[in-house]
């Protein structure tokens, strides 16, 4: 029985490429990975938003209206609904003039109990150091 920690580090803009969306959908797929593993083994994913990646957690995204697709906001909310650990880099938010008010910080409206954490980069560094594998997207 073992748990492997995967740290997804989202650093790319939403919608410009598919990378950040794929980071979120891959992280969410950690919820069904047991079908491939031995009993008791787990893969635990966390999601950290840094640099341009912080734009993925902006509220009121209009992906549906403009592109006819689900929003990265919705995927971000699903990571919280599924109790994944979510970290957002405070320094990068400050750089863009963004605050907690601008961001998806919880999934309470769909029954989630976990909240996102705005943290200094040093905390994200710790998260990366304790992960078994890093996935930059």
């Amino acid at each position: 029985m073992a748990t492997k920690k995967l740290a997804f580090v989202v650093r790319s803009l939403p919608y410009k490429t598919e990378a950040s969306r794929l980071a979120l959908t891959h992280a969410i797929s950690s919820q069904t990975v047991e079908i491939y593993l031995n009993d008791g083994d787990l893969v635990e994913a966390s999601v950290s938003y840094v640099s341009d990646g912080v734009f993925n957690v902006l509220k009121n995204q209009q992906g549906g209206k403009h592109y006819g697709i689900t929003t990265n906001e919705g995927h971000a909310k699903n990571t919280l609904l599924l109790d994944l650990k979510v970290l957002v880099c405070k320094e990068d938010l400050d750089k863009f003039g963004l605050t907690e008010e601008n961001l998806v910080m919880d999934a309470e409206d769909i029954g989630g109990e976990t909240k996102a954490n705005i943290v200094p980069y040093s905390e994200i560094q710790k998260e990366m150091e304790t992960a078994d594998h890093l996935l930059f997207c």
């Binding site: 995967l6 598919e18 891959h26 950690s30 491939y36 594998h133 997207c137």
Partner: protein, 120 residues
């Protein structure tokens, strides 16, 4: 010998990152390692048969088939990403698998190293 899991999102022809990923896999297999190679997003175009070689574009199919023949190389495309791009199981070259994203995460479980080539 070890096991590597290599994941990539980068597109065929449009980016040389996919070529880099394949070269990395080739080097690892030649050293005797096992490699799981995962493609998501635009990278899934590598899992489309009928590709032709032109001197202006990279051509990875031959290398991939040689790697598959070693028995130490598994290559798997994200099924949803492929379907979204309009090609289906019957369009996949021999030896390629199609799975959901959790296959990739499961592959990382026993990997000694995970090399994730994100972006495009």
């Amino acid at each position: 010998m070890g096991k590597l899991t290599i994941g990539t999102f980068s597109s065929l022809v449009g980016s040389l990152s996919l070529d880099f990923s394949v070269k990395l896999a080739e080097a690892a297999v030649k050293k005797g390692h096992k490699v799981d190679f995962w493609m998501s997003g635009n990278a899934t175009m590598l899992a489309k048969k009928g590709q032709k070689a032109f001197k202006d574009y990279s051509f990875l199919s031959k290398t991939i088939q040689e790697l598959i023949a070693t028995g130490n190389f598994n290559i798997t495309a994200c099924e949803a990403c492929a379907e979204a791009r309009g090609y289906h199981k019957e369009d996949c070259p021999d030896g390629f698998l199609r799975k959901s994203m959790d296959w990739y995460l499961a592959s990382t479980f026993e990997a000694d190293r995970v090399l994730h080539i994100g972006g495009d």
